[in-house]
Symmetry: C2
Subunit: 692 residues, 2 copies
């Protein structure tokens, strides 16, 4: 969920759906409303085809099958982690790009998991029954237990992933069954220079000129590319202005249905801290990168990720500090008045707002501790994360499935396991800097006098401690991790690895704050959230879709530019020729040599990027943009600046989804990268697939 | 004003003064109120003695004369700039401290200016007359002109400094006449390890254990120590709980009398940006410092300054996001109702709130541009600052005095000139990093498509550009600066120095945004601010002191601990023995060797630091804490965490001023630093002074 790039759109709680807002579940798509507005109603076959052609990248992105041989299209920025992991000081794939000459050259990504949604079932009744009448810790335990049981029953093999999804803040629970694929191989990634053209300054802006695309291929247990029954065909032309278009993807999370107590806590407390923390982290990485080209290389992916997240947090803070908050106040007052006026609703939800406000008070008291210890921001190090996962895996997997932390249940653990047993390089010099810095930050946030901090840091300088842990650990060696994982509790108990010892040392305090959070914050928020959802269903029906939950959603909209509040008109597309005009020769406006070489051969009038009114947020990165024929016309990779406030509400006049045009992708593959076999496979004239 | 460390205190607009709040001008001290509350009323002789014993350090701090031979006591953190400037890679005075063995060993600080207030005169009538009926640019020009004229008439020589001070948001103008001293020499500075014991984590916290003191001596034009008629004697014992105490210093600025429009702009827009910017800057410097000990040394002072400022901004944001804002809303509604109910007041100030809100709208539109270009945050480099000052000095000093930018008038220019003609080291490697980073930040804030940005940066990478400018410039050489300054416009026109050329290139755009700000924001805010002040005087009299303006103020209060909202009691003092208990041996809890060596000789029961209820803010750093006998009992150096919100309001139950105890200073000088001559001079048994 850390890679979420895109941003969202509206539906104030008490308003019926209008404009093009809404991220709809596939089992509740608003076919009729779309038809009324655009003259086309997607039918079940259309919806099934799109759903089955779409995939989720389990660590935070979306994508789509684009050939019957398991080829997946997503964003370059969704595959940057893999590109970085496959790079070395000698061969920097981020800088020079990658095109597999043939299937044998496709390179396995260490930790990409691809999910294809095959079934949705309601489990609300079963969960309600299991948690009924319970509060606090009892509620949290019961919820965790029943979810683990449901997921385990459903996950009949390693190739099936089942997630219980809490919709409407706990008002509804659905079981999402996916096909799970853990062998995904990099097929094509352009150079970062063109994928991320414009860099951080252009991020969340439009006009925009990036080729933020990548291709990977899904392999089965037999080591061969999978065959899929559904994939998207590529359109033969760009979408035109006002064309109806859909996105199918996995928006990571929105907060549109939160109460004022929850929103003001984010505005006044959480977001300012996140902005400060991520800004400082950015500074650390920028300065580290300045030490030399190799440091620049190893920090690059992390820096880009942090810059993106930082921009999201800043945008959210701006949004909540703006006019939107007043709308939320009006909407909540209206909703409360309606609930209070109806004795039945009042008995269900009358106390929900105060109950949630109390939970928020509890969250405020433990936020910093949870952020640093449990969420791990005090330990900014991949090696620490691996150590913690090994320590917890040993502890948790010794328990009955229903009693485990949820990411260690039988159904969920394969995602963590994949990373533990995969080989990828870790830059120890960078790890020392980020860990040393984050430990110092934790000390500052929690106080040098905090008992956990004192025990963790001792009398050490935080950077000295980080250096000792990072240079001393052997967890960068995948064989060491595999041995520790296989050895279970006994192996962890016996380990003298300094990072394992450190992770053990801080684990009790980290678990404690998590347990308190689950009992005192999450449980009442779900309980009262469910009550509010019942009231909302009673008043408005279920036309308004649930907040995003990083599960598959459909959104509809049209291709359209917009008018800035200043009066400036922003056209809906950019031209390939404009990329060259904007290039300065220096990062982040430096085009790769391949593009400079190909310039004479390129058609400058081909649309590069374009914008649509689709309601998307982070997690939608890599979503296909689909026309009503079900063809791929673009690839969503960002939202405009206005869209960042989409976490809380959607403004159809301003919020825009940004995509790469299908024709730009085709032209680049054909003329810049001369990936003829790929072009044939993508455009349906795939002789290679036949040969297999 | 960048060094402001301390934080402020209350008086909501429509409340009469109560508790110990208020930073009073010396010509309007609340002697009667103090007498009623504490049984002691300072008389004119007492007030004159304290005023004349106090000094302002013109770049952002306070201090006091503590011997008849011009010895000045202030904070170590107020002298860190000088300590750093006097240090080299071979001799790091920040780390090892400095004690002048005899007068000849006292070392001149390159850019310290000491001001002693000798006279206050009202110039309200003259300024009102000059600006009457004017608005926008005309108002700004007239105000600048009349202020320059008044100051020039008053400044009869280089040793006299005259500042027109705008009080009550433009409601009153007073002329402050100071004796100006530009030859101040470092006499004593402890090691940073004890001066800043606890570092950033302990900053703005209490219990606290720092020896944040330094001594300098003021020299006259004859190159000899000045003789002063007034200085503070050191008390023979620590102040006791509940003792009445005063601080005399120069609080830098408060925003207690701003309107909601101004406050919400700070909360929602300005402060979040400042927090982000300073956090990132901190990260840049932390990571730069990690490159090696010399990089750590050259970045140290800047980093400490940034960390302090960042903590202030974060605290202000927290304060405005808290309950205080609701109090402000109530107070403004009450004030507006009273004005609207009185026809005369309504005619004076009825439109002031809307007028100010309009000015805030104008400010929002130009804030980022002003922040980056005019305030110079896009050019984070001492060399750039010097270049801009030389460029502007040439332009401005060719104009009539009344038409110049205010810092280049004859009365004001000596402060800039002192720095231009002083020799101090500049770390070019650090300059490249901060300038390159800040240029990139400016591009991100203002857009890569902004005309000024495009012209300034060209197609360069910002770090490459910074490197070219910083390595190419000769402005680090004081002789080069002196020649350019003496050569005036012709010399600047002829200069090929790359930093001079760059400063010239961005100057028109920087001046333009400043002119717009002065006409569209500052002028209406002063005009309507004055109207509100008139209404306030009519309703409440002038018992409520004006917002702080970095001019001398007196505050009163008592020695007292406090009770945290959590119920935790915080005692009013810390013990010398506790410093050793808290020491870990690692920064920021590493005591210098001198203290470890002296430990057996020290009396652990001597109070180290203590807290009082005095209302102080940043700029008060270095203020003497004085008992009713007029003796020095402590040295203010910080406020507690609650006090950071003091910019907007004072809570007597929680806000605290933190000082070093006089007995701790005496013990340190005598037993740790064995500065016997200094101890004799300070304790009035000064044989050395006689010998001169």
């Amino acid at each position: 969920m850390k890679k979420l790039l895109l941003v969202a759109a509206l539906v104030l709680p008490s308003m019926a759906a209008h404009a093009d807002e809404g991220m709809y579940t596939f089992n509740n798509a608003p076919a009729k409303a779309i038809g009324e507005k655009y003259g086309f109603s997607p039918d079940k076959a259309w919806l099934d085809h799109v759903q089955l052609s779409s995939v989720r990248l389990a660590r935070g992105c979306s994508g789509s099958f684009v050939s019957k041989d398991g080829l997946v299209l997503t964003n370059h920025h969704c595959m940057r982690g893999c590109v970085e992991q496959l790079s070395t000081a000698q061969e920097n794939l981020m800088a020079k790009g990658f095109t597999a000459k043939d299937p044998a050259a496709e390179r396995k990504c260490p930790d990409v998991e691809v999910n294809q949604l095959v079934e949705i079932t309601s489990v609300t009744d079963r969960i309600t029954k299991a948690t009924d009448g319970k509060t606090g810790k009892d509620f949290a335990d019961a919820l965790r237990g029943v979810q683990a049981a449901i997921q385990k029953e459903c996950s009949t093999g390693a190739d099936i992933r089942c997630d219980v999804v809490s919709l409407y803040q706990g008002g509804q629970y659905d079981l999402y069954k996916y096909r799970r694929y853990q062998d995904a191989r990099l097929v094509f990634a352009p150079e970062l220079g063109v994928a991320k053209f414009g860099g951080d300054p252009d991020n969340f802006n439009f006009p925009r000129y990036g080729l933020d695309m990548a291709l990977l291929r899904v392999y089965g247990a037999d080591g061969k590319p999978i065959k899929v029954d559904h994939h998207l065909s590529w359109a033969k032309a760009s979408a035109a202005e006002n064309d109806l278009v859909f996105t199918s993807g996995n928006p990571g999370g929105t907060d549109r249905q939160l109460t004022l107590a929850q929103l003001s806590f984010r505005r006044d407390y959480v977001l300012p801290r996140l902005v400060a923390q991520f800004s400082e982290r950015r500074g650390i990485l920028v300065a580290f990168s300045r030490r030399g080209p190799e440091q620049q290389r190893v920090a690059e992916e992390k820096l880009l990720r942090i810059e993106n997240t930082l921009k999201v947090y800043k945008g959210r803070l701006d949004a909540l500090a703006g006019a939107l908050y007043a709308q939320k106040q009006t909407a909540e007052a209206d909703f409360r008045a309606k609930v209070d006026a109806d004795p039945k609703l009042k008995s269900v939800a009358g106390d929900a707002w105060d109950g949630i406000a109390k939970a928020v008070q509890a969250e405020r008291a433990l936020h910093d501790r949870r952020y640093m210890l449990d969420l791990g921001n005090g330990f900014d190090s991949d090696l620490f994360t691996l150590a913690r996962q090994l320590v917890r895996a040993a502890d948790e997997r010794a328990k009955p499935n229903e009693q485990r932390l949820k990411e260690y249940t039988d159904a969920a653990f394969p995602q963590i396991e994949q990373r533990l047993v995969s080989s990828f390089p870790i830059a120890k010099d960078l790890e020392v800097e980020t860990l040393g810095w984050s430990l110092a930050t934790m000390r500052a946030w929690l106080s040098p006098d905090d008992a956990t901090v004192k025990e963790a840091l001792g009398k050490d300088d935080t950077f000295d401690l980080a250096k000792r842990l990072v240079t001393g650990t052997k967890l960068n060696d995948v064989q060491v991790r595999k041995t520790l994982l296989a050895g279970g509790k006994a192996a962890i108990e016996a380990s003298k690895d300094p990072m394992i010892l450190f992770a053990k040392q801080v684990d009790a305090a980290s678990r404690a704050v998590r347990a308190t959070y689950e009992a005192d914050v999450d449980a009442p928020e779900k309980k009262f959230g469910a009550a509010l959802a019942q009231a909302r269903f009673a008043l408005e029906g279920s036309a308004v879709p649930p907040d995003a939950t990083f599960s598959p959603r459909l959104s509809y909209g049209k291709v359209a530019g917009w008018t800035e509040p200043s009066g400036k008109q922003v056209p809906y597309f950019t031209l390939t020729s404009a990329v060259f005009e904007r290039a300065t020769g220096n990062v982040p406006f430096r085009l790769p040599q391949s593009w400079l070489d190909a310039k004479p051969a390129l058609d400058g009038t081909v649309h590069m990027d374009f914008v649509t009114t689709n309601d998307i947020v982070g997690g939608n990165s890599g979503s296909p943009i689909i026309n009503q024929k079900g063809e791929l016309v673009g690839l969503a990779f960002d939202g405009n600046a206005h869209s960042i406030g989409g976490s809380y509400g959607y403004d159809g006049a301003l919020n825009r989804c940004i995509g790469v045009d299908v024709m730009a992708m085709k032209q680049a593959l054909a003329k810049v990268y001369k990936a003829d076999a790929l072009v044939r496979e993508l455009t349906g004239n795939d002789t290679r697939a036949e040969a297999r």
